[in-house]
């Protein structure tokens, strides 16, 4: 078997079996804290849950569908299972995966890239779980000793990460990067489309544009058809 076959015929079937199974188990287990409260006779009532759910669904319901579809080409099969059970995708999982692939010298979207992505996501998940545990236990007592400069610096963590990762991918394709940024900034400035709509339009536009440019031979390594 060649690498491609090992990845798709040996690696992925096991990942899909365990991924789907453990996501459903995880979904059920996520009710453990609610059940613990119920066990102590504490229940907010269905009316309160229904009302809160209504507000929450209005805010994020669309993202349930938009995010898995939008991030899939980047995350791949193992990454999608891991990312949507563990969260913190754009600020932690995607950046770590991209940097690991860069350092290991593999391309995202290839079989080797998929292996490195899986390892990177697992490592990022474990590191986050351990550090957040330490933070949750010790944070409240330590945070008042943080210098104000540090607190202020952390408010810029998202633009810093997003700029860095955008820069990394800009290196691999300047044309596509400028087009993507132009589309996203224009749509954000126009302010008629909600955030999730901008994400969908930008991703779909990038798929179409990259495919057209690739077929015209305008995008880098256009290897012969296999």
């Amino acid at each position: 078997m060649d690498a491609e076959e090992i990845y798709s015929k040996k690696f992925l079937p096991g990942i899909m079996k365990w991924g789907a199974l453990l996501l459903w188990v995880g979904l059920v287990f996520s009710f453990a804290p609610s059940m613990y409260l119920l066990f102590h006779g504490i229940f907010p009532g269905w009316a309160a849950i229904g009302k809160g759910f209504g507000l929450g669904f209005a805010a994020v319901g669309v993202m349930w569908f938009v995010e898995p579809f939008s991030y899939f080409p980047v995350l791949g099969i193992p990454g999608t299972y891991l990312a949507f059970l563990s969260g913190n995708i754009s600020n932690l999982k995607l950046p770590c995966t991209a940097v690991s692939q860069e350092a290991a010298g593999v391309e995202g979207g290839t079989s080797q890239g998929g292996i490195i992505a899986t390892i990177a996501m697992v490592v990022a998940t474990i590191v986050a779980t351990v550090l957040i545990f330490i933070g949750a236990v010790g944070l409240a007592s330590v945070v008042k000793y943080f210098p104000p400069f540090l607190i202020k610096a952390t408010t810029f963590v998202l633009p810093a990460i997003f700029g860095a990762i955008f820069g990394q991918f800009l290196l691999s394709n300047v044309t596509l990067g400028i087009i993507a940024l132009a589309i996203a900034i224009t749509l954000t400035l126009v302010k008629v489309i909600p955030g999730w709509g901008i994400l969908v339009i930008t991703i779909v536009a990038m798929i179409i544009i990259s495919r057209v440019l690739f077929q015209k031979g305008l995008l880098g390594k256009s290897k012969s058809k296999e």
Partner: protein, 231 residues
């Protein structure tokens, strides 16, 4: 604030360790499969370890940022549940928003003086149920999405890495747009993060030093955040 003794009780820790255990199990299974298949595919141990190290170094900064941002959640929802939600499904913005919706539904707001046991319990429920969609969609749609991805390539495997870059650029262009347009420190942090990262990666590629790539995100993040805080 009586509910906080229950929210921080040993029982609550146990209830939160259960779901995290499922996540850890998934991690262990995926990690072993990836390592074994990677070797079988002819990837060297060094390549796999470089990927491992890069993820290890790069994940510390963003994780610490989550830790510093989680204070409001720890104070209002208790340490065990804050830990579960942030290492399990959500992100800080999502969890705070849902905890607040839970509180609003019982007539108060997150962090208000009358935020009590009922608001806390509703927050636990809302943070949980509003995240189920992501897990369910990922569980059902993932195998089908792979078929769709292959279809988009139209049988040309060389296009798949370009498709990935294009989608990554699209996603991060979307995430970046509002940060760039926010002005002041936010704009500076984005620009410096991008400049610092591209410089480090160009140097790493030219000199063929993978350790520079391993540290690239951590260093770029730190430099961008500090300079943005100064301007």
């Amino acid at each position: 604030m009586e509910y906080l003794s229950l929210a921080n009780s040993a029982g609550m820790w146990v209830a939160c360790i259960l779901p995290v255990g499922v996540l850890i199990l998934l991690c262990v299974i995926f990690y072993r499969k990836a390592m074994a298949s990677g070797r079988e595919m002819g990837m060297t141990r060094e390549t796999l370890m470089v990927g491992f190290n890069a993820a290890l170094i790069s994940s510390i900064g963003p994780s610490l940022a989550i830790v510093i941002g989680m204070l409001a959640l720890v104070v209002n929802m208790g340490a065990p549940f804050a830990w579960l939600r942030l290492s399990y499904i959500g992100s800080i913005m999502y969890e705070l928003m849902m905890a607040d919706f839970g509180a609003q539904a019982v007539g108060t707001t997150l962090g208000a003086a009358d935020f009590g046991q009922k608001a806390f319990a509703n927050g636990v429920w809302i943070e949980t149920v509003c995240s189920l969609g992501w897990i369910a969609v990922a569980a059902v749609a993932t195998p089908r999405l792979e078929v769709l991805r292959k279809k988009m390539a139209g049988g040309n495997i060389a296009f798949l890495p370009i498709l990935t870059s294009a989608c990554m650029l699209g996603a991060f262009a979307y995430l970046s747009a509002s940060k760039i347009l926010a002005g002041h420190g936010s704009t500076w942090a984005w620009i410096i993060g991008a400049v610092c990262m591209t410089s480090l990666l160009v140097i790493s590629r030219k000199m063929k030093k993978t350790w520079i790539a391993e540290w690239s995100l951590g260093v770029s993040m730190l430099v961008a955040m500090c300079i943005a805080a100064l301007v």
